[in-house]
C-alpha cells in the first residue's frame, strides 16, 4: 500500500505535530507500507492563479513549473493521500490549501452528475482514498471539526474518492494505523 502524507504544518516549532507524523510514518513503514511524507513548507509551490491552463493549454498539467508537479505525480500513484495540518483559524493551513488548489489538473473540466449534483469528470482511472489528520487549536470545538470534515468530504466527491477518516493528533497513532489497514483498497 502506497501512502502519501502532505504535511501542511507551516511552523517548525509545532514539535508534537511533526513527531506524530514521524511516529505514524514509522509504524506504517514497519508494516511494509510505502510511505512518502512531503513537507510542504520545504517545497516551492506557487498559488493557483485560476488561469485554467491545466485544463485548456496543457491538459492535466499546471502551466507553472513548480514542485507541485512531483507532488501530483506521487499522489496519483498512491492508495491513500493524507492531508495533515494544524488547524489555524478553524481550518487547515494556507500552506496545505495552496497545494490542494493545485490538485485541479488531476480532474477534467467537463462536468457529470454525481448523486444528482454537478461535479468534474475523472482524468485518471483511479484516485487515492483521502484522510485528514489535524491538530486542534485551543478553542477548537465539535462544530469546527464537523465543518472541516464536511469540507474534506466534499473535496473527496470532486476527487473521485472518499474521506476514510478525519482524526486529531490526540488519537493514538496505533488507532490510525488500524484505520488505515481497514481502508486498504
Amino acid at each position: 500500500m502506497k501512502i502519501t502524507i502532505l504535511n501542511g504544518n507551516p511552523d517548525t516549532q509545532k514539535k508534537d505535530f511533526e513527531s506524530y507524523l514521524d511516529d505514524l510514518a514509522l509504524a506504517l513503514d514497519d508494516l511494509g507500507m510505502e510511505v512518502t511524507t512531503i513537507t510542504l513548507r520545504e517545497k516551492d509551490i506557487h498559488s493557483c492563479t485560476g488561469c485554467w491552463g491545466c485544463w485548456v493549454k496543457t491538459p492535466g498539467e499546471c502551466v507553472i513549473p513548480d514542485d507541485s508537479i512531483e507532488i501530483r505525480n506521487e499522489i496519483i500513484h498512491s492508495d491513500l493521500l493524507v492531508f495533515a495540518s494544524p488547524l489555524i483559524m478553524g481550518f487547515t493551513s494556507a500552506l496545505l490549501k495552496i497545494m490542494q488548489d493545485k490538485l485541479i489538473p488531476l480532474v477534467h473540466p467537463y462536468i457529470e452528475l454525481v448523486n444528482n449534483e454537478c461535479h468534474h469528470i475523472k482524468r485518471y482511472k483511479e484516485y487515492p482514498k483521502l484522510a485528514l489528520i489535524y491538530s486542534p487549536e485551543p478553542d477548537t470545538d465539535t462544530e469546527d471539526i464537523q465543518i472541516v470534515t464536511h469540507i474534506y468530504q466534499r473535496l473527496a466527491i470532486n476527487f473521485k474518492s472518499e474521506l476514510v477518516f478525519s482524526q486529531s493528533i490526540e488519537t493514538s497513532a496505533e488507532k490510525l494505523v488500524h484505520e488505515i489497514i481497514h481502508h486498504q483498497r
Binding site: 498559488s47 493557483c48 492563479t49 485560476g50 488561469c51 485554467w52 485544463w55 485548456v56 493549454k57 496543457t58 491538459p59 492535466g60 498539467e61 501530483r72 505525480n73 496519483i76 500513484h77 489555524i88 483559524m89 478553524g90 481550518f91 493551513s93 494556507a94 490549501k97 495552496i98 497545494m99 490542494q100 488548489d101 490538485l103 485541479i104 488531476l106 477534467h108 473540466p109 467537463y110 462536468i111 457529470e112 452528475l113 444528482n116 449534483e117 454537478c118 461535479h119 482524468r123 485518471y124 478553542d139 462544530e143 469546527d144 465543518i147 472541516v148 464536511h150 469540507i151 466534499r154 473535496l155 470532486n158
Partner: protein, 223 residues
C-alpha cells in the same frame, strides 16, 4: 460611510468576482451621495496583514472569493490567518462574505458558508452574513440575457446594503437559487451533458491553444 471590498480571486482584476463587485458597487453608489468605496485584491498583497488596517478604517467590508476545491482559495486562507489573535470587538466594522462558484448549485458552497459563519464569531465581528452565487464560471462569455437577472440582483444587493447596512435576506435567497437541481432541471441536464454544447466553453479554449486533441491527457500515467 466607507465600504472596502476585498477581492480574493486568484485572477484579481480580471476575475469573475470583479464582474459581480462592479455591479454591487454601482448599486451601492446609487444611494450614497458620497460614494467611498475601495476594492483591494488579495493577490496583490505579499503581506495580507496590511489588509487589517484597511478593515479597521472601514465601516463596511465585503470579502468575495470563488470556491476553490470546495473551500476558500489558498491565498484567501493566508489572509484569514492574519486574524490569529485579533479581535474586531472594539470596532464598528460590519463584515460580509460573497462566495461564487462555477457549479450551478448553491449547495456546493454551503459548507464554506458554515466556516465563514464560525470565522465571524471567532474574530468577534458584526457579521452581515454570506451570500452564495453559483453558475458564475464563464460569466464573461455568457450572453447578456443570461447574466442580466443576477447582475441586477448584485446591484440590488449593493443598493440595499447602502440603505440598510445589511444584506437583504430576500436577495440572498434569490441569488442562491438553485440550491439543488430540480427534478425537471436534472432531466434537462442529463440530456444537455450528452451534447457538445456542454463542453463548448472548454473545447473552444482548448482548440485556441491547440490542446483539444490532448484534452484527456494523463501526464502522470505510467507508460
Amino acid at each position: 460611510m466607507k465600504l472596502s471590498i476585498i477581492n480574493g480571486s486568484p485572477r484579481g482584476k480580471s476575475s469573475n468576482s470583479k464582474v459581480l463587485t462592479d455591479r454591487f458597487q454601482q448599486g451601492f453608489c446609487s444611494v450614497e451621495s458620497h460614494c467611498d468605496i475601495q476594492e483591494y485584491f488579495i493577490r496583490s498583497f505579499s503581506d495580507p496583514g496590511k489588509l487589517i488596517e484597511v478593515l479597521e478604517n472601514s465601516d463596511l467590508a465585503i470579502v468575495i472569493f470563488p470556491l476553490y476545491t470546495d473551500a476558500m482559495p489558498g491565498i484567501v486562507k493566508r489572509f484569514f490567518e492574519v486574524f490569529q489573535g485579533y479581535t474586531f470587538q472594539n470596532t464598528n466594522l460590519k463584515l460580509g462574505f460573497i462566495v461564487q462558484s462555477g457549479f450551478p448549485e448553491a449547495h456546493h458552497s454551503r459548507y464554506i458558508k458554515l466556516y465563514l459563519n464560525k470565522l465571524a464569531k471567532r474574530i468577534g465581528i458584526e457579521y452581515l452574513g454570506t451570500i452564495i452565487k453559483g453558475g458564475v464560471e464563464g460569466i464573461k462569455a455568457q450572453p447578456g440575457w443570461m447574466t442580466k437577472r443576477y447582475l441586477q440582483l448584485f446591484y440590488d444587493l449593493g443598493q440595499h446594503l447602502a440603505l440598510d447596512w445589511e444584506f437583504s435576506d430576500d436577495i440572498a435567497r434569490r441569488l442562491a437559487r438553485p440550491e439543488h437541481l430540480s427534478k425537471f432541471t436534472l432531466v434537462l441536464y442529463r440530456f444537455f451533458l450528452k451534447t457538445r454544447m456542454a463542453t463548448y466553453f472548454w473545447d473552444q479554449q482548448m482548440k485556441q491553444n491547440n490542446a483539444y486533441e490532448n484534452r484527456f491527457a494523463q501526464p502522470y500515467s505510467k507508460p
